[in-house]
């Protein structure tokens, strides 16, 4: 048991250690001051926005899925599979799919562009859309699991005390499922902050507008590997801060 556990830990931590060992610590401030700061602000802003979108849209979807036991089984399975698909879809393919839907000749984007001249690709909004697309499944699956874990007896007790459906949901179900929502939101945020393929394909790469940290890291790799490592260290620090800052009891939701 201990040997595979050690290998697993090494596989997870080894690359991070290598990154830290190779990091150009002396030049780090200078490297960070260049392209990194605008990209950092953009990454944090878009990841926060997409996490917000994930919660606003994903919690209702999870509620519907958790209450879908009355649906015909094939339909239920199909819907759940469709919700999960962005998890297994290569992100670049997801980006292409988003272009085909929301691009200016896309299924929805086409009419939008014709009618209002609105173009979604190459905007910061496109970054948020791409990140929401890849992050949403994490939130939906996490919250759905948490909702299913809520003890029905509390809900029944609330009903006998005269609580309506909305009160039962907001005062009983949601607080009980809160760790699951928080855990799902953390995963969605983590996925968003590291998002590369769908972003660069759907939103492009313009400094200050659509060039997030992962995109900047990929481009920096071409010309200045040290800068790429510096950006990677920043991304790692963000990930660690987010995960450490959350108390254990929130993260327990991940194990459900």
């Amino acid at each position: 048991m201990l040997v595979p556990a050690a290998i697993a830990f090494l596989l997870l931590v080894g690359p991070l250690v290598a990154l830290l060992v190779r990091a150009p610590w002396a030049q780090l401030p200078a490297l960070l001051a260049g392209t990194v700061l605008p990209a950092l602000g953009l990454s944090l802003g878009t990841a926060a926005a997409s996490t917000g979108c994930c919660v606003l849209l994903g919690v209702p979807l999870a509620v519907v899925l958790a209450g879908a036991d009355a649906w015909p089984a094939p339909l239920r399975r199909l819907v759940r599979a469709l919700v999960t698909t962005p998890l297994v879809l290569p992100p670049v393919v997801g980006g292409v799919a988003l272009l085909l839907l929301l691009g200016r000749v896309g299924l929805l984007g086409g009419p939008l562009f014709q009618a209002f001249g609105v173009q979604i690709p190459f905007t910061t909004a496109a970054v948020v859309v791409a990140q929401t697309f890849v992050g949403l499944p994490f939130l939906v699956l996490g919250v759905e699991g948490a909702l299913r874990g809520v003890d029905r007896r509390f809900v029944i007790a609330a009903t006998t005390l005269g609580a309506g459906p909305w009160t039962r949901f907001t005062r009983v179900v949601l607080p009980l499922a809160a760790p699951g929502v928080a855990a799902g939101a953390v995963l969605a945020f983590a996925r968003a902050i590291g998002e590369f393929g769908a972003t660069v394909t759907f939103a492009g790469s313009l400094p200050g507008v659509t060039q997030t940290l992962p995109v900047a890291a990929y481009l920096a790799l071409n010309s200045d590997p040290d800068a790429a490592i510096a950006i990677s260290v920043v991304l790692m620090v963000i990930a660690l801060v987010v995960l450490v800052a959350l108390r254990d009891r929130w993260l327990q939701g991940l194990a459900r």
Partner: protein
């Protein structure tokens, strides 16, 4: 040398491949070669060579039964970065001498690189030219959706050069990581215009239209090729380089200019 350890090779390929975003797998295990011209070589090549090189490989493999050529096409700079960090590659063909120089500086080339072809930029627009783009001046129009390569890759460096030559302050909506991404966005009618190589426009067929412009003639890109030192099939790698050099006609018919 980590190549002796299959696991380490697999790990190296995984890591570098993931970094380059374009891994195509490790070279296949080779049968014990009786002549030097058997076995499998991996060729890292600029994305703009991805039509002409596979065609050349088919004739090369017919000529040398038992030899296989595996390609890894991508942005030259990303490929160079993966080679410098130890990717097991036998031959490198770059879309700029600057990029090749990073591999040379790391002392990884076997012999001096030779230029096999040259290329020049062309404006690519979607079929029907919906943005009514007529020349490089239109790249300064913020109202049009413009995509070019990032300046960290050869096609982007060439783009900056032609903008400077034309005195145009370009206002791109995106700096793409490689020329293929630029072409995809133009072909998908998500951009009004992009700057790509002449060969890309030709290879794309009816999916894009090309608009030549005079400044391109002053920003011509060299394509150097070199066998790499770490190759376990040095003779085969050298034979592939010679094969490419001997088939200039195929490169020309793909739209490349002859080396000077």
């Amino acid at each position: 040398m980590r190549r002796r350890l299959p696991l380490a090779v697999a790990a190296a390929v995984l890591v570098t491949g993931a970094l380059a975003g374009c891994a195509q797998g490790a070279p296949a295990a080779t049968p014990s070669a009786s002549s030097g011209l058997m076995g499998a070589i991996t060729v890292d090549a600029a994305a703009s060579l991805d039509k002409v090189f596979p065609a050349l490989a088919r004739s090369f493999e017919r000529r040398h039964p038992g030899a296989t050529v595996t390609f890894n096409f991508g942005g030259s700079s990303a490929l160079a970065a993966s080679i410098v960090s130890g990717a097991p590659v036998d031959v490198f063909a770059a879309a700029s001498t600057t990029t090749m120089r990073t591999v040379q500086t790391a002392d990884l080339t076997a012999g001096a690189p030779v230029v096999i072809a040259r290329n020049r930029l062309e404006i690519a627009v979607p079929p029907g030219n919906p943005g009514k783009v007529s020349g490089l001046r239109d790249f300064a129009d913020a109202g049009r959706t413009i995509v070019v390569c990032d300046r960290t890759v050869p096609c982007g460096a060439a783009a900056q050069q032609v903008f400077a030559l034309a005195g145009v302050t370009a206002k791109p909506d995106s700096y793409e990581p490689d020329v293929t991404s630029v072409l995809t966005k133009v072909a998908g009618n998500d951009a009004d215009a992009g700057l790509v190589y002449v060969t890309d426009v030709r290879a794309a067929g009816a999916k894009v239209e090309g608009i030549p412009f005079p400044e391109a003639e002053q920003a011509i890109t060299d394509y150097p090729i070199a066998a790499l030192k770490g190759s376990e099939h040095a003779a085969l790698a050298a034979a592939w380089v010679a094969w490419v050099r001997a088939h200039e006609r195929e490169l020309r018919s793909a739209g490349f200019l002859a080396p000077q």
